[in-house]
């Protein structure tokens, strides 16, 4: 394997990552009016993390997908996508670690939030089918900072992420050291996590960016703010809590 190819793979991974950080930063400081009315929903570090991981997941997902879809494998010939896949994972690990060390409270809240399930949540999920198909908005019970649908997504990111990291680490570092059977089932489990995570990612992207009920979702992840009206209708309980705090 030529050194040149390794370098290319490295830059193919690192350019979009740095780009997403700079992009978020530039947008926040030059194009967003800080006095724009609205409620702060996602802090700047949270948004940066979101877009960095988004870029990394797209790169990881694409370099994985071509091995996954039968017939697309030829794109991976000579292994250049493997280098990108590895380097992205290393960057991902460093980014997650740095974020965890710096904003530990955010991370722990995120995990706690994802694993806290109440009876009300199940009721919301039952009503959600009609809601997402354009049903009556007022029927939905008021929600906290995130609704159960988003809670599922957070749970998926944690669980699938853990599976990806563990099985991936075994396949990368312990290849040959572990029994072939362990490696084989790691490949299988990695793929299962990819199916579940990938399907949920599609749902996440379409709901966030295209769904008419989630009209301010994408913008809030870019600028961090949502309108008062949107906060009241979508995250009633959270809005009450926030406004009480401010008052």
């Amino acid at each position: 394997m030529s050194k040149n190819k390794t370098e290319k793979g490295f830059w193919a991974a690192i350019f979009p990552t740095i780009g997403s950080v700079i992009g978020t930063f530039l947008y926040d400081y030059f194009f967003d009016d800080p006095k724009r009315p609205g409620i702060m929903r996602f802090s700047f570090p949270a948004r940066t993390l979101h877009w960095v991981t988004a870029v990394l997941i797209i790169l990881l997902g694409f370099t994985g997908l071509i091995l996954f879809v039968p017939g697309w494998g030829t794109i991976a010939v000579a292994g250049w996508t493997r280098i990108i896949h590895r380097i992205c994972v290393y960057i991902f690990s460093v980014v997650l670690l740095l974020y965890f060390v710096t904003y530990r409270k955010n991370c722990l809240d995120y995990i706690k939030e994802s694993f806290t399930w109440t009876r009300e949540d199940l009721g919301w999920l039952r009503a959600a089918v009609d809601y997402y198909l354009g049903g009556e908005e007022s029927k939905m019970p008021p929600q906290g900072r995130i609704n159960p649908g988003q809670k599922i997504w957070q749970l998926i990111t944690i669980l699938c992420g853990a599976i990806f990291f563990i099985t991936g680490a075994i396949m990368t570092f312990a290849k040959g050291a572990v029994a072939p059977g362990v490696f084989q089932w790691c490949v299988f489990t990695h793929d299962i996590a990819f199916i579940i995570g990938g399907c949920m990612l599609i749902v996440h992207v379409v709901l966030g960016a295209l769904h008419p009920r989630m009209s301010e979702s994408l913008r809030s992840m870019i600028t961090g703010k949502i309108s008062v009206q949107y906060a009241k209708s979508h995250y009633g309980k959270w809005y009450e809590k926030i406004s009480k705090k401010q008052a």
Partner: protein
Amino acid sequence: MAKAMLMDVTRCIGCRACQIACKQWHDLPAVHTTNLGTYENPPDLSADTWTRIEFRELDDHGTLKWLFSKHQCMHCTDAACVNVCPTGALKRDPYFGFVTYKRDKCSGCGYCIEFCPFHIPRKDEHANKLLGTGLMGGKCDFCFDRVSNGVEPACAKACPTGAITFGERDDLIREGRQRVMTLKKNYPDANLYGERELGGLHMLYVFAERPSVYDFPENPEMPAAAISLPIEKWTGVGLGLLAGAGILTASVVARARMIQEEKQNVKE
């Protein structure tokens, strides 16, 4: 139609002419090794060593038996490596039945290395684990260029004792069975290996002892994960398309319903 090679271990004298012939024909460099106190050399299969005679010393009731067996790709009919190879670098030739490897189609994922029931494929020597570089080093190609021109493989050609014979698979099976019958008189454990294993191997063996004595798996099996991977992939692709189509439809339906509602609100 299906060709095969039969190795009669009882005729092998351990001269390793087959190893040299293989290297010569495929233009593979010699491997620098150190003396490990055995005639066996090189110590392992590698990207540059596609076939190797393994030397075994067996203590049989006080008498020493020196056993030789040729190790290389077994060219399975139900090959696990072909099942798991994502790029199609490993394929089964439908005419001869051999498992062919095209290096320029390899991505270096190494699944074949971990899924092979005989533990045959090896990675490039200069492969980097951290970066995931390096390809599968290469394996016995059954001298495809020779065989397709009607010549026997280099190792079979070089064998001075006729331990390695090349021919029609059916003929070799018949031959092997006869040889086993003869051997049974002196070697009660004699057996023909590769007739039914993994749908039938294209590398057949006449063993004088149990296969495990020669470091061969007694019952090689296709790993369950190798069977489930292709199924899993198609399921995954289907689910992905379904999720995408479903959520897009939901978005479109929702928008249509909301527009309709708005119109009604305006009318009222």
